[in-house]
Amino acid sequence: MVFITAEEILETVSMIRSENLDVRAITMGISLDDCAEREVRRTAERIHAKVVRRAGRLVDVAHELQEKYGIPIVNRRVSLTPIAEVVGSDDPADLVEVAHALDAAAEEVGIDFIGGFSALVQKGFTRSDAALIEAIPEAIGGTGRVCSSVNVASTRAGINMDAVVRMADVVLALAKRTAAHDSIGCAKLVVFCNVPEDNPFMAGALHGSGEPEVSINVAISGPGVVRTMVANHPDASLIELADLIKRTTFKITRVGELVAREASQMLDAQMGIIDLSLAPTPAVGDSIAEILQAMGLEQPGAPGTTAALAMLNDAVKKGGTMATSSTGGLSGAFIPVSEDAAMARAAASGALTIEKLEAMTAVCSLGLDMIVVPGDISRNALAGVIADVMAIGMINSKTTGARLIPAYGKQVGEWVKLGGLFGEAPVMPVSAAGNDAFVGRGGRIPAPLQSLTN
């Protein structure tokens, strides 16, 4: 029997009750390999039936574990085989029909989001990839719980600039389609480089081709716990601080491991991965920006921010990998702007710019995430921003994503309220310098060298 000290018990209770420690998501990955039929309507029916059958108990199991361990499990989600690989159709209307079937299945099983309305096009488009991409504005704008992602780049393939440009058009169309709700549709769409096959976080979750029939992936969280620990040690040197962060993320990750093991057993699924991410919410204290402030920066964006974030991100991973042998997904500190109230305030004050965020994403998860840009941004400017994020992922052999929200009808400085965990953020300026000739060249940026890495 393992001895537990009173100090450890009270620490655990305090982390949960006072410092917002939670399991951010339990995501069930479901393979749709056996759902393809000649008729799209029949395929949609089979997907719907399989999601309901396999994920029917997901919400109840999450609730049971929440009660048993007294730890909040914030989201329950399902990720699917990329739909473009399942639905062999070149008619976007067919893909929209499938999106509605996914939405209906998600509603029936009571989950927050269902991901996998996706395509991988880093080297080129199949006919169904092209149809899916064309369908995104209607499919995502016309449903509530369906999330979409498109992988346009990888370290092995380079950047498909034609896909980048096409996705810029799609993001703008989706922003317009959901203009009445501050273009919120764009919060459910990610453009990826090196998309992970086992990511439990939305909007980018999909169930990759190397995954088992059904898996359980768990996203842990706990920026508040790390922030409190950092704030309680104002005189610690950086090497001492790194050690404290490692110890803290070890504990956070152990909770994820426990929940993943038990949930997978209860749901008759293979245990997948623990995503070692610090994911903020708009709640006070549940913020990556506030960790950076506790480390000694006045605001995120101050000189030194990239260095502080690099240390934080690395320490999180080191602590987490000691706690589980099943790491995966995105694993790192997230820096979304709208979902992190202190990050949004820094953006509003001008301390934090898109260019600084771009530098920050070179040393952490996840890219330019939940960033609101002017609604009248040009297609080519948006494509250029996406390409820049993809380039960082491609060169550094890491995942990067772009989840950009051109707020239809809004200008720099105006605030956009996305609601709930999506939070709110000011519209941030994008450089007005032209790039038409570069973006207009089209084609593909070749895969990079993996040696001579300076």
Binding site: V2, I4, A6, E8, I9, L10, T12, V13, R17, E67, K68, Y69, G70, I71, K251, R254, V255, E257, L258, M322, A323
Partner: protein, 91 residues
């Protein structure tokens, strides 16, 4: 099957808090295996290891009863399965 949970109670100190929590646990046919309690600066802190047979009570019933008691006597009472504590601090 026997289950062990850890009950933590926190709040302002007053007379008879431990007795009332213990009474509720007894009423639920559960057993107190270990208890530690301190009062510091007027704040009452108690940790109990409580076990029960699932044929006699359930965790949900115990939790509901203790939360009701906590509300009545001004304590925040949490009931959590022991595994979360064992798992969190050790490999």
């Amino acid at each position: 099957m026997r289950t062990t949970v850890i009950v933590t109670a926190l709040g302002p100190d007053s007379h008879g808090l431990l007795a009332q929590v213990a009474t509720t646990i007894a009423e639920q046919d559960a057993n107190i295996d270990d208890v530690s309690q301190t009062v510091a600066n007027g704040m009452f802190t108690m940790i109990m290891f409580v076990s029960f047979d699932q044929s006699e009570t359930t965790m949900a019933q115990l939790k509901e009863a203790l939360e009701a008691t906590g509300e009545r006597i001004g304590l925040q009472i949490h009931v959590q399965h022991e595994n979360i504590f064992r798992f969190m601090h050790r490999v």
